[in-house]
Structure formats: structure tokens, C-alpha cells
Amino acid sequence: MRAFSYVRAASPEEAVSDYRPGAAYLGGGTNLVDLMRLGVAAPDQVIDVTRAVGDRVTEGEDGELRIGGGVRNSDLANHPAVRERYPLLARAVLNGASGQIRNMATVGGNLLQRTRCPYFQDVGMPCNKRDPGSGCQATAPGADTEHMAIIGHSPFCVATHPSDMAVALTALGARVRVAGPDGGRWVQMPGLHRLPDGIPDRDTVLTPGELITEVVLPPPPSGRSAYRKVRERASFAFALVSLAAVLDIGPDGRVRDCRLALGGVAHVPWRAHAAERVALSLPATPQTFARAAEEELRYARPLPGNEYKVTLARNLIVSVLEELAR
């Protein structure tokens, strides 16, 4: 691991003013420390922001929920307002990582965690995300593509975003508060994470030195919701495909609101706008849900070896929506 200096920032302003190129913000460290040990990340300065950003969850009078960027995952999932009003989010967080890691990991860090693509994590391999211009081993002949993207990827990068929490936040339409050298701004989800295009080294729209200080949820959507994750073992594994779904059915039996976000399929938590548009106003039937899923996955371009994810994503959308419509 490269040697680094360490500072603990007391406020977002202090963290941002301490920042210079080559520095890294430290939250719970569950991803960053691992990447530093692997040599994937090599900051020469670590700015501890766990005391700089809020660690509280508060309910606003406007029905919004404000989540400090330093809130630990376990505290978020266990907060009464999250359990009661945003069960989708509680479920997603509880489905991520392990009890130990959820105690350490922060909300801001969860959003900014890096892909678990094995070629990204292996400094002996070419990787356009880690080392721009070096190539993509995941698209080389014989590569293990089982966990790679099926939609929205580019010839430069086929990695997926690993978060469960971010999938729920994408379905819920969270806003992210960011502090930076040029002042503060809001970033709307989906829209925080970006597709790889030709610059996969940039995971998000944040610029160097910007820091997530807070995540704000709009009032919970009407209807029922669910988070379902398909993985290779029952617990403590990343998603092959996951789905955050909200479904509201009117008295006429037609879809009044439908929000779908997929995890494990793309470089971003993938909001399934195409499927949502198809389902809207149609009768809430298995036929409608199948049409919606088909429409979304028309745009899928699986790699040799991960075609199964297309089937899995389609079946997941249909079965979760059927369950919510019951």
C-alpha cells in the first residue's frame, strides 16, 4: 500500500478545502481500504469524512427523509422511518454485504463504491476503468463475463455497479447533496452514476473533490414495493440481477404508477424507464408485465457467457410485479 498522510475533517467545507489531486475521502473504508491494499487505489492523502458529514436520519415536515452521508448502512436499514415508510430501501440495504460491513459502511461511500469486476481489481490486468487506455480484459476472448453488464455498456467497459442500496434509491428518485470546491449542488438519481462510454474511469458525474453530504428521499410513492436479489448464495454475495420495484394500481385495475430499477445489469443502477412507460395505464396483468419487461430488455446486448442475465432480469420483473399486483 502506498504511504499516505491522514487528516480528519470536521465539516464538509474543511474536507473540500483539504482536498487536492491524489487525495481520497474515507468513509467506512470497506471498499476504499480494500482497493488501497490491492493497489487499485493509491491516494497519497486520506481525508476522513466520517465526522464531516451528517450521521443522522431526519424526517422533514414536507414528508421528505434526509439521510446524512455518514449514516451507517445498518443504522439506515434499522431506522423506524425507513422501515415503515421506505421498506424498499430497508430491504435493499439489508440484502447488501454482511452485518460487520453494514456496521462500517456509509451511505455516501455506498453510492461511490467501485465495481467488483475482477479485472478492475487485479492490477496485473489491463482495465480502462483503472488505467484508461490500457484495454478491457473482460471483453477479451475467454474472459469470465458471468457478472458483467448486459445493457448500456461500451467497448471500453462492461463492468457493473455493485450496490443494492443505490438500486432502491434510483427507484425512489433520491436527490444527492454534494459539496465541492465550487460550492454545493444537488444531483438527481438516476443521474448520479454514468454509463461508461469512452471514459469508464469516471463512475459518476461528480468531479474531483466533490463530496456527498446528504441523500434526500421524496415522500414515499403510493402503492406497494419490493426488493428482490438473485445471487449465487443465500447471503453475503453481490447480485447477479436485483430489482427494486414500486407498483401502484388504480381502482380500475390499471397501473397508476410503476417504478423499476435493476441492479447487476449495467454500469449504473439501471432505471427501467422503457418498461415503466409500457406498463403505465395498462391493466395490471401478467401479460402487461411481460410486455413491459420485453420492452426494457429489447435494448440488452449480453456478452458471450452472460445471456442468462437477460432471462433472469425479464423473469424477475414479471414475477415481482405479479407478486405486488396480488
Partner: protein, 172 residues
């Protein structure tokens, strides 16, 4: 000139204040094992995937391998050596012995600290049916909540049994 790559940290480890100078790269796990001679906490994977390094930090279970010591200045740390809080065994340790909850023993300190932390954690898990409930710790709930601790010997059956006994408050 001041060396900015090392830091002085003070931790309370198993009830005793310990002041040490650490390289900023040092994990809490390496600090415990190499600076303080507390080798009960084990290094399995050093990536947060196996749970062998689990300790209680400010009362909550955490992977000591992913915790930079410099970031935990002032923290209260409890390791397997201090789990019982004095002479004798912690009820979990007694239950592990009685129910044969280990074979090689390498994962055991992490299993014990993780279980101790887990038993203080309220609320639902990923498999809990109703989110607004504090469910009883069935074997299924214990398996889900302990999924951050791997046992390569596969002693899970008896680990779950030992934890169940303690969770139910009965004699080990």
C-alpha cells in the same frame, strides 16, 4: 520535519487505554496482532470477506482488517481476549465448547465476537418477513445474520446451535 505518514492513536482495548504510534496504513487488525500482541483476532482474507478478524468497535461488530487504525483514534475495542470481561468464559465461549462449534478453530474468535455483536443488534434482517418486527432468532435468522463469518471446516451446524442456546438465554 514532522512525519505525516505516521500517527499517534489512543485506543481502549479490552478496557485498557493503549497509546501507540502507527503507520497510517496499519489496520486495527495488524495493530492488535503486531503492536499489542493480541493474536486472538485472526487474519483470514484481509479483504472483509471471511470475518475471522471480527472485533467489537464501540460495541458494534466490525472487520478489523478494513479499519485503518488511524481512523479509530479514541475508539473502544473489544477482542476475543476481552470478550468475557474477566476470568472465565463468555456464555458464547462456553456454548461453543459445549456444542463443539469448531474444528480447526481459526474462524472461532471472529465467530464469537460477531455473535456477541449480533445478539445486541435489534431489528429485522434480509429474511425477516415483517420489517417492523424484532423477529425471534431462529436458526435461519442466525445463519443470515452470521453470513459475514465463514468457516472452512463447515462447523456451521454447531455454531448455529451454540448461538441459539445463548440467544434463548438458557444454560450453555
Amino acid at each position: 520535519m514532522e512525519n505525516t505518514l505516521v500517527s499517534r492513536v489512543t485506543l481502549v482495548v479490552n478496557g485498557e487505554p493503549r497509546a501507540v504510534v502507527v503507520d497510517n496504513r496499519m489496520s486495527v487488525l495488524d495493530l492488535l496482532r503486531e503492536k499489542l500482541g493480541l493474536t486472538g483476532s485472526k487474519k483470514g482474507c484481509d479483504h472483509g470477506q471471511c470475518g475471522a478478524c471480527t472485533v467489537l468497535i464501540d460495541g458494534r461488530r466490525a472487520n478489523a482488517c478494513l479499519a485503518l487504525a488511524v481512523a479509530y483514534d479514541g475508539a473502544d475495542i473489544r477482542t476475543v481476549e476481552g470478550l468475557a470481561g474477566g476470568a472465565g468464559l463468555h456464555p458464547l465461549q462456553e456454548a461453543f465448547v459445549r456444542h463443539d462449534a469448531f474444528q480447526c478453530g481459526y474462524c472461532t474468535p471472529g465467530q464469537l465476537c460477531s455473535a456477541a455483536g449480533m445478539l445486541t443488534e435489534a431489528g429485522p434482517s434480509a429474511i425477516t418477513e415483517e420489517l417492523d418486527s424484532d423477529p425471534p432468532l431462529t436458526p435461519g435468522e442466525i445463519r443470515e445474520r452470521m453470513s459475514g463469518n465463514l468457516c472452512r471446516c463447515g462447523a456451521y451446524v454447531n455454531i448455529v446451535k451454540a448461538i441459539t442456546v445463548v440467544a434463548e438465554g438458557g444454560p450453555a
